[in-house]
Subunit: 500 residues, 2 copies
């Protein structure tokens, strides 16, 4: 395995020397010099078509034990750096998908390597505790300096979990418990409830529901999956719950140009939400909570206005439903604020906010009253992973030190402007450019065209993601600078110019 | 933070010297000298009642942000070693619960620390990939040398997941997909199926079920929770599915003495299983799969005979249901074989075997035909964590090198014999000693007595777990030797002798 770059860097880092003596075309970014020395390649560099021969051989091997249909190529993570992902055939790509939006500050950031080489941290990696019963000494301190330091407004409580789906599942459970406790006036459950819950029957397992939106993605475990409605392949053949599904606004872009039309569309959706809440109450499957993404990601990068979310939050309050904002993909700084819901300007934006991906650990924040009344109601063996909290602490330090939220806002503006230019230049191919921060997207005229553009881009050294039916989604790391925006736009422009 | 021991060891390890110069009462275990040098304390050592003042202060801090009702005490993992868990007040306990049975080879095993200090491994910790789309170069190799090297008989395929619940959720989904593909003759889904699944309706989201057993524990996400029936606190207030629940045999112990009675009880349960399968087929909620633990753990350490499982496996086959063996707690060597189902002696023990805990990563093995027909049907962002696979590879090396399965069998025999003696000596307090390997348990006469014994033991330096209504469960690491068994029995004996 080609691990030379990292091994060398580790050696150097141990010598307290951050300069890389490695050969090859690398540059020190200008903005970075004033903060942390950042070593990165200067451009993509392609040696084979992707997937190359080595990736194809590994695909064959892995195909013997897993379905490999979703694999793009195999990666050399040791040689990857910052915004550049290197594959096993030596191809170096500008990565604006970043492991489905889950790499916060680029590959092999020196600050994270330092976490690994700090002897005080070894124990956190080697001895994974059952956090719910035997937490390590520094657990409260690490939570305060990491997750609590970025807690959404109005929320002082946080529960870590191992992944995004588990986070949403447990957030749903917290909403159900909260709702039933309210219904029974905070009295102890009846004997009948205790008895029936053991055999999956009402009233112990009540017919409560979660209201979700068409196009939503909240995960793939069975509770989450009942609120996910982005693609049939996720849901086909899996039993589900009869829960209400409201329309998500289908807005016209750019938002500034369609204010009136979009407001009408949002009003229509909100009306439907209230109708569904009433209808499901009549069906005796009352809505305990509403779950929504600030920007529908997997479903096609669908935006809605702050006004929509503010009104939705009020509808939840009016009907006694908990309001759960799923920031698994939007959280972590990619919209230019740490949480996308900050753009709504509310002091009390939600009852629950879930996260994962760029935060490296899953989990959710919640208001005090959403805390379960008893231990072991929200529980599992690991309840997260303290070694991920160590990395998160350091990621937050880097975000602050390097002013990465400002960088994201700056790069995001340049990216969106560039996408506007491209769709003006190629109106028969591209439309509906949209975005907040670097959380940007653009539609192709068909899914076939979208897929073709993406494959061509990959072979020219630009790795992007897709979502919805015919959308390209951009999910770069927070260290994505204007310099990288121009690289991205140049490659896209070349492809579009050649496109028939 | 008192990290001196580990820091020193790391420094020493980097100098290629495995001998500890640390002060304090430690000993080199006799069996270990012939394999890997193993440094461990020689006995418990108590300084305060547990939780001590430091733990209490940390509890107060953490209580501001989480429900801390399940926390026993805070730990100093840096100073913990082998079978001994050290808390923040300097109390050193013999740990036979091992983070809810999830620490395979004890605390701070030198082999695992070496994994951390190998520069070639840094990248796997720092860059967590989206394994389903962009795996690292060594991913197939690491799977073959770790998980595939211990694959259950008849299973060549494995899917990693982040935790036990996610493993079972996705195993259930695989069974549903497999079942529906059979039903539709492997044809493409109809337009109606594709359309209805998006809104949670049949036939796209079919009314299929999973048959589970009373007393079972398969996790707490909503699919898993519908098959979990061990304690009301897990299930109360959470909506569920109308799925069939069969009785699990209630056997008399020791098993050898009640062969005839137990066989009758098992026959009764198996008859009920077949009745339920027929009944749920008539209800139009056919059973796609049966899920069962080889030993019900959380539900009270309930055993059944190999004959029971062999017959159950045949019933599943006869009715066209998939057979899913949940080895999340029983797997990893604790019963004296790597998988508990190996004790059944079957070449084709199951269609799916799920794991987590001691394997450090979640996941499941499955037979070829249980593999989903298309990509993205079983999928999520991380699909496991390659850094856990690195540790698992090394754990398996240690198990082989140090013959730990033999050790477990030897220690387990000594432990069970000791428990038999104790229940003979204290028949008014203890009964129903049972176990396989070191996966042992014993019942107290009441839950209050059980809890009282456990608290007294903790204050004498023995940390045990509970399960079921009044059961003490023993879940030591695989490095638990006869020497430790005697320590455990001595402490228990002292407490029982004092017990009124």
């Amino acid at each position: 395995m080609a691990s030379s770059l990292l091994t060398r860097q580790l050696a150097i880092s141990l010598q307290q020397n951050l300069r890389l003596a490695a050969p090859g075309s690398r540059y020190v970014s200008k903005t970075a010099t004033k903060t942390v020395s950042e070593f990165e390649y200067d451009a993509p560099s392609m040696k084979t078509a992707v997937p190359g021969p080595k990736s194809q051989e590994l695909l064959r091997q892995l195909g013997e034990i897993q379905n490999v249909g979703a694999i793009h190529f195999f990666c050399n993570y040791e040689e990857s750096r910052g915004n550049y992902l290197v594959d096993v055939d030596g191809n170096r790509m500008l990565d604006v998908y970043t492991q489905i939006s889950s790499i916060p500050i680029g590959y092999n950031h020196p600050a994270l390597i330092k976490v690994m080489t700090n002897p005080n941290n070894v124990s956190a990696f080697v001895n994974r505790p059952a956090l719910g019963i035997l937490p390590p000494e520094n657990f409260p301190e690490k939570l305060f300096e990491s997750l609590l330091s970025i807690a959404p407004s109005g929320m002082n409580r946080v529960q870590t979990m191992a992944c995004g789906s588990c986070s949403n599942e447990n957030a749903f459970k917290s909403m159900f418990i909260w709702y039933r406790n309210k219904e029974r006036g905070y009295a102890s459950p009846s004997e009948q409830e205790v008895g029936t819950c053991m055999i999956n029957q009402s009233p112990g397992c009540p017919d409560l529901s979660i209201l979700s939106f068409m196009g939503a993605f909240h995960g793939r475990t069975m509770g989450c999956l009942a609120t996910t409605h982005s693609k049939a392949i996720h849901k086909l053949d899996i039993p589900s719950f009869d829960w209400p599904i409201a329309p998500f606004p289908k807005l016209q872009y750019p938002l500034e140009e369609f204010v009136r039309e979009n407001a009408q569309e949002e009003a229509r959706c909100l009306e439907e939400v209230e109708d569904l809440i009433v209808k499901w109450r009549q069906k005796r499957k009352p809505v305990a909570g509403i779950v929504i993404e600030p920007i529908q990601a997997e479903g096609g990068d669908n935006h809605a206005s702050p006004d929509f979310f503010i009104k939705l939050r009020n509808i939840a309050r009016k009907h006694g439903c908990a309001f759960h904002v799923d920031e698994v993909q939007t959280g972590g700084g990619t919209t230019g604020k740490f949480w996308a819901h900050e753009h709504w300007g509310l002091d009390d934006p939600a009852d629950i906010v879930s996260f994962s991906k760029k935060l490296l650990t899953g989990g959710y924040y919640h208001r005090d009253e959403l805390q379960p009344d008893k231990p072991y109601r929200i529980f599992n063996t690991w309840m997260g992973d303290p070694s991920k909290n160590l990395f998160l602490s350091e990621v937050l330090n880097v975000i602050r030190r390097e002013n990465l939220l400002e960088e994201v806002t700056r790069s995001g503006k340049a990216l969106l402007q560039g996408l506007y230019s491209l769709q003006t230049q190629y109106p028969h191919i591209l439309s509906r450019a949209r975005g907040q921060g670097t959380f940007c997207a653009i539609d192709a005229c068909s899914d076939a065209t979208r897929d073709s553009i993406m494959l061509k881009a990959r072979n020219k050294g630009l790795f992007m993601g897709s979502c919805g039916e015919k959308t390209i989604r951009f999910r770069p790391a927070l260290v994505f600078k204007e310099y990288h925006v121009h690289q991205l736009l140049n490659i896209l422009n070349d492809i579009l110019a050649e496109h028939k």
